[in-house]
């Protein structure tokens, strides 16, 4: 178990080394089911999908969107990199999209990377995101504008 003492020791450790590692925060990987034919999105296409302006993939399967919980780093990266919206604007956007009949509701909210992977792997059309370090064999990370997560030109970055 992670106790307060353990965390304090870890903080002391980090203080002593002065955060010399230069953590970049990592990339936000867009994930789909491993069996999905989706392999790449353009930035504009990704934005349209997450804004629910594009509802189906080329195989005719309806996208089922998932977002991380409010306050998570991954959600902040998605709002900044995909939606280009603040949290408040995101809420207003989906309420208005419901009002004009564009969507039934806002994307599903999921509270851990493991649950996100499981959702994407098991729900037809499921699409979500995790830290690139959280991608495992159960899902597939798609490329954005031809760049895979980890590529310096990959556009979706987590805040350092």
């Amino acid at each position: 178990m992670w106790t307060k003492k353990t965390i304090l020791v870890l903080v002391a450790c980090l203080l002593s080394c002065g955060v010399m590692a230069g953590d970049t925060g990592g990339d936000l990987a867009i994930i789909v089911a491993k069996s999905s034919s989706l392999a790449n999105f353009s930035s504009a296409e990704l934005s349209k999908i997450f804004r629910a302006e594009k509802s189906k993939g080329p195989d005719g399967v309806k996208f089922v969107l998932a977002m991380r919980e409010t306050g998570s780093d991954e959600r902040a990266a998605a709002l900044a990199g995909i939606y280009k919206m603040s949290e408040a604007d995101y809420g207003k956007y989906f309420l208005q999209a419901t009002f004009v009949g564009l969507v039934q509701s806002a994307p599903r909210q999921i509270s851990s990377a493991a649950a996100m992977r499981q959702f994407v792997a098991s729900v037809p059309g499921g699409i979500g995101y995790v830290r690139s370090s959280d991608v495992d064999d159960s899902v597939k990370a798609v490329t954005i504008d031809g760049h895979p997560p980890g590529d310096p030109a990959y556009p979706l970055k987590l805040k350092p």
Partner: protein, 424 residues
Amino acid sequence: MHYRSKSFGLKRILPVAVLAPLALANRSFGEQTNQAPVVDPAMVQKLVDRVDRQESEIKDLKAQLAIKEGTTPDAAMPPAPTYPNLQFHGFADIDYQASSRAGINNASGVVFNPPANHGGNSFFVGEFDLFAQSQLAEDISALSEIVLGAGATDNEWGLDIERVELQWHPSDYFNVDVGRFHTQMGYYNTAYHHGTWFQTAVGRPSFLEFEDSGGLIPVHTVGVSIHGAIPSGSMNLMYYVEGGNGLNYDPSRGNPVQNVTDNNNFKAINLALVAKPDWFAGGQFGVGAYHDTVTPIGLPRTDEWIWNTHIAYHGSLWELLAEGFLLRHEAAGSSATYTPMFYVQAGRKFGKFTPYARFTYYNASRNDMIYTTILNQGGLNYGPSVGLRYDFSAYVALKAQYDYVVQSGYKGANALTLQAAFTF
């Protein structure tokens, strides 16, 4: 498996992670024993962020374990869809308006249709909007919007079914809505309608008001709407083809929308084309044309055309809207009359504050008998509006707006409107 491997790794790495930096920093500690500790706020923030991330990892590991061991319900897995799946939202606004001339007290800010040329001030309850949407099947949904509003003259509540639609959305390229819907005409009419909370300003541009509140265009249609995307690459074109009853200009009726019976066999046709290009992120522009043959009571049959164009942009800071309409009426045996209308609006966010300004203009032809004898809206009407929206909370907006209106036949009028708009 995933949990175990990560947990094992952490257990092994942790002692090394603690001891190695301490060993590396030994010399530094020795040198600094006689100095006061210096705390770098940026470093502390980085450390806090790092701890946050590690807490997130722990949460993830716990979630994996829970999923693996089946000790918690599988939160990620959505339940099998059940229909109907009803969702409800409400919108309302409470207002105060003081004006140098009596106006219609509704959520439209200033709609001068004065029975007398004098001032007034009133508190008023704006629209009470009950919006419901229900998924009936994967591609079928129903939508309804019932609005309660009090009349300015009788102070009595009235109920309007503003929208009721059955929607079939089999693909991004072909969708069908039937019922009473918002006519796809320009931008404001469909982006904002009865929910005043959505709007930056306190109300609609005057000529886009509802048909029974002094508006000049058919903002509602009873009929069918076919719409969808046009494969167009980065231009992201959308088409709209709509057909419906059109309006019945009858001085004895308060609302010209024909919900049940069309007073003639002509049908209104509305076409619109909207582009949301990739290079114009957050923006869109479009054009449209509307045609009907109307048979106003007491007047000759009239050919009605409305052409419109719009451009709209919503960025993270700026909101820019501009629309123009040109309405043409040609009564049998008469020459055509033209009524131009436009507005431009700009707003910029400063945190929770959004100051904005709008200029609205229309000039309803005095030779247009429908406007002069039935709608009592003939002549020039224009003026600026400036206001401030404050997002008091996520779902409550407070607004203050000043309007100055120049209207043919009347002295220029001032109005101040305060509004609390909310959704629930």
